[in-house]
């Protein structure tokens, strides 16, 4: 597992985890931990899963071939399953993205509504549509294990 801590890194982090896709959609070997808040103009690209211990602000971008988990507020642009994997998910403590992409689906929040959910939410593709629902622990209730 790759690991990135706050450091003199540039604005763009990118890399490739090693190890192949274990079984089905589980990228157990290549997950990157980004231990900082991503601000406007900063981006993370990674071949694998991305976990962010911090916020993703508007203007920041996270692109991953696997799942994206934000342990904070997600307000920027995220792209999970960038290689076309529709089984990937995006999860955040506060899911308010500018734009949310999973595989080749692109979604954005509606123009005239402001929904401010105060709970963790998860976005995934269900029946060909990106669906957002409250995150509840327990594999069965999520429809599948992540």
């Amino acid at each position: 597992m790759a690991y990135i801590k706050e450091s003199a890194q540039g604005d763009i982090l990118s890399g490739f985890g090693q190890g192949s896709q274990a079984d089905d959609n589980l990228f157990d070997e290549n997950t990157i931990l980004v231990q900082r808040t991503l601000r406007s103009g900063q981006s993370v690209r990674y071949s694998g899963n991305v976990v962010i211990l911090g916020d993703v602000n508007p203007g920041a971008e996270v692109t991953a071939t696997g799942n994206i988990i934000v342990m904070g507020a997600l307000r920027g642009v995220v792209h999970a399953g960038a290689n076309g994997d529709e089984t990937t998910v995006v999860m955040a403590f506060r899911l308010n993205p500018t734009q949310l992409r999973i595989a080749n689906h692109i979604t954005r929040p509606p123009d005239n509504e402001k929904v401010d959910m105060d709970l963790p939410e998860i976005a995934r593709i269900k029946d060909g549509v990106v669906t957002i629902e409250a995150f509840q622990t327990g594999g069965e209730r999520q429809g599948k294990a992540i």
Binding site: D11, I12, G41, G59, E61, V77, T98, Q99, I106, D111
Partner: protein, 264 residues
């Protein structure tokens, strides 16, 4: 064949982006086909001011580097049919685009649009050189402060050196009351120093902050003074002769009455 106009200032925070958004929106409302081009790569704002941030998929760098076609990157405005935005990239920097590429881009846009309006970044470095590379005309924005006027003077010099002659001037955020009291530079003082044609004057108006935060350019609200000022500028850009707005606020009985019944 359209016209490419660059909105520039030298100094930051004088209202280039607000002006770009308002002139573009105003021209589109008059029925022209308008493309707005944000060249402030790395510090993009025009998309936010127009309320189009969440529609961005491709940006100017994707176009110039051949990642996508120009048509794919142009975002349609949500209110006006003829208004389109080509957003800047946020995760790159100014060197991601070259002046030659900008020239080519402006040529391509010119054939499809009546007006191409370029939002220039602050400063006089590569971002500025990119922004002016493909422009036919220039508009310089300044505020009535010595520092902003000094920078505007420098910019006008650089524009002339780049063969963009006779730039037009917009004086933003003027407060007629302070000018009358002698606490702020007046329009004549500024023209005196810069010696260029005046395109318009925009009075300080709280509505600018409100409309900008909402992502709706103030020019759409003709009940505001700034909205009226921008509308006049838009008509002058389109070629109409419009007299300068009287900036002295009305203080008569009707004004007070209007204020009481909420007409402003």
């Amino acid at each position: 064949m359209g016209e490419v106009i660059v909105i520039t200032s030298g100094k930051g925070g004088v209202g280039k982006t607000t002006t770009t958004a308002n002139i573009g929106t105003g021209l589109a409302a008059m029925g022209y086909k308008v493309a707005l081009l944000d060249t402030d790569i790395g510090l993009r704002n025009l998309d936010v001011v127009l309320g189009l941030e969440n529609r961005i998929v491709y940006d100017i760098v994707d176009v110039t580097s051949g990642n996508c076609r120009l048509k794919q990157a142009l975002i349609k405005d949500k209110r006006l049919e003829g208004l389109h935005l080509l957003p800047a990239a946020q995760t790159k920097d100014k060197t991601a685009v070259s002046p030659e590429q900008m020239c080519q881009l402006c040529e391509d846009l010119k054939s499809d649009f009546d007006f191409v309006i370029i939002d220039c970044p602050a400063g006089i470095e590569q971002g500025f050189r990119n922004a002016i590379a493909g422009a036919d005309k220039a508009v310089v924005v300044t505020t009535p402060e010595v520092s902003a006027v000094r920078d505007a003077d420098r910019i006008i010099g650089l524009l002339e050196a780049a063969d963009l002659r006779e730039p037009k001037l917009i004086i933003n955020r003027i407060r007629p009351k302070m000018v009358r009291q002698g606490d702020m530079m007046g329009i004549e003082d500024i023209i005196d120093i810069l010696a260029v044609d005046l395109l318009g004057v925009i009075p300080e108006d709280e509505m600018i902050v409100i409309t900008t935060n909402r992502g709706e350019p103030v020019v759409t609200d003709q009940n505001t003074r700034a909205g009226q000022a921008y509308q006049n500028i838009v008509r002058r850009v389109a070629g109409d002769e419009v007299p300068m707005m009287n900036l002295d606020e009305e203080t008569g009985f009707f004004k007070k009455l209007k204020k009481i019944i909420g007409l402003k």
